[in-house]
Symmetry: C2
Subunit: 335 residues, 2 copies
DNA sequence: TTGTAGGCGTTATCAT
DNA sequence: ATGATAACGCCTACAA
């Protein structure tokens, strides 16, 4: 068991003065005499006094903590994001409570409940891939815990969110492909039910249209984002009589798998086959044969903006009108 | 400002019973009648009552939070580690406060202070590369905040730590090199002042000895772990008249840089030059030409063990004798 | 079975 | 310039 730390009362007792005087002295209240103040401060030192913030938090109804919920820190996107969130939080004297959902909706809810119990002053969240039930949003609104979504955001209105517009990057990707003569451009998309997949699918069609390339259903395949799924999707494309010469895929992880598979099948990148995907993970720069490009989604900017929105909410007296901030995504060509 | 949430008192008032009865009913105290219990619970529901944990924490002198301090989540080693820490914490109904030091000793101290203010029940920490001043350890001991170090641990006695023995992996690495005929085996080490570097250097010498290879000073170079530093170190080795045919390097990041550089110089891996490094990052499996091997340091095992040690401390009444747990590192050959 | 009272550490309010 | 008191929300020994 823990020996209890020194309290204001103890200091007061030892000095035979009142607790309020001690409190004031410690906070440099002007009405306290210099001598008393010094005496108090010395005694505080001596007893290794440290204010019990939990008591203060309790009284102030503020914990100076925010909760961050995201799918997985092992994705570079999210580890970048949380770094930036921590920076912003630090600037505001806030600390970050962490929770990884691992794309499990149940776990998300559990984390939210834990955060509520801990009375976080606000929540930043990137949704898991399978989260359907958004009723927790109302629940949080009810108890006035501000929440800001980023990256993987719900499609509903009336919530604060920061995300990236996937279509700008897709347009650049398709255009880059078209400009070097590709006609058969495929899309390896994520699970169909995902909003992120739907957006990519739409953006893909739009971009093809813009380049006067006819949309052909057979060039769109889906993966469940497992390694097996990625390879299976690629296999489907390669078996087509008129196989694609260029591929946009859901994200860099997918591309990693399919590049490897293509290599095994004897295809040489940027000769037989061209790749672009979303995320722009830093590892590409080390690859001997990186894909043609990757679409940057700016995790740090998104995260910073989302955190700033959250702190604006936390700081304000009345509730603010929900805001949706969109960052353009941008193709980065490799080599 | 936040509307204050329902409290036990409110429920009591509405039901015209005492707060203690409400408290007991909510906690299913056996002495409370079934009807009362139901009435209370219903009212609690209706008012969206949720116990104010901050009040409870305050009273219990326990926050059910642990603080985790590590250099950077963008290193896969640490993101694996924190995932596992979060798992263990979850099992204990604990939540994780996060702080990245970015290898800045000042920032470490600041985080520690924040954690103390938040009255975390314990701290898990992996030291930054430049941390020299360990006086915070005594400070924490003073205030009885248990701390367990992992991975990058202080060399002092009397602290709980979990780390990996780098020498076992080094031995395997050198042995693997020697077994396929390498004699000129170099070491690209980290900054000389680092404990982690010294250990590698020692292990390197020992391992050479064991293989009956003479130690030659010129084959040991240092890098500050920046890209430029890594390349510079490699350059030095390549300029040697009798350049090494095999290289052990500080970690996979270093190897990534030097592989790239070697490639630019026209060297073909596993023909002209062979690499092994520490960390065993997952990305190797995607590389067209991965290094010969990488030494696994088991971030998840280390993290789990460290977390378990911390919770043992937190749970126990008297203070326990500090323990040092060492995991062997293990070479993983690629392809 | 239920109520009363006190306390956890701090601070704000009101008094002296 | 300082002290006394109450209050934040919850729990629990003790009383009824």
């Amino acid at each position: 068991m823990k020996k209890k730390p020194a309290t204001i009362k103890e200091i007061a007792r030892k000095l035979k003065i009142s607790a309020s005087t001690v409190s004031r002295a410690l906070n440099d209240h002007p009405s306290i005499g210099l001598v008393t103040t010094m005496r108090v401060k010395n005694m505080a030192q001596e007893l290794h006094y440290e204010p019990n913030q939990t008591a203060i938090f309790f009284k102030q109804r503020r914990t100076f903590t925010i909760g961050v919920i995201l799918p997985s820190l092992s994705e570079p996107f999210f580890s970048s994001a949380i770094s930036e969130i921590e920076n912003v939080a630090g600037e505001q004297n806030y600390t970050v409570l962490m929770g990884q959902s691992h794309d499990d909706a149940e776990r998300e809810l559990q984390i939210i409940h834990t955060f509520k119990k801990h009375r976080v002053d606000g929540i930043l969240m990137s949704l898991g891939k399978n989260t359907e039930d958004l009723s927790f949003v109302d629940m949080l609104k009810e108890s006035e815990v501000p929440i800001v979504f980023f990256d993987c955001v719900p499609k509903i209105e009336g919530v604060n969110k920061v995300y990236s517009d996937l279509s700008s990057g897709m347009r650049e990707a398709i255009q880059s492909f078209a400009s070097i003569g590709h006609k058969n451009i495929a899309l390896i998309n994520g699970p169909e039910n995902l909003l992120a997949s739907q957006e990519r699918a739409d953006a893909y069609k739009q971009a093809l249209l813009k380049e006067d390339i006819a949309f052909d259903e057979k060039y769109v395949v889906n993966t469940d984002l497992t390694e097996a799924g990625n390879i299976e999707a690629m296999e489907k494309l390669l078996l087509l009589s008129d196989r694609p010469s260029a591929i946009v895929s859901f994200n860099d992880f997918v591309t990693l798998d399919v590049i490897k598979y293509a290599r095994q099948k004897g295809l040489v990148q940027k000769r037989d086959i061209f790749f672009i995907s979303y995320a722009n993970y830093p590892l590409w720069k080390y690859m001997e044969n990186p894909p043609m490009g990757s679409i940057e989604q700016y995790p740090d900017r998104q995260a910073r903006r989302a955190a700033e929105m959250l702190f604006a909410q936390i700081g304000s007296t009345e509730d603010m009108k929900p805001e949706a901030v969109v960052f353009e995504s941008k193709l980065e060509l490799k080599n």
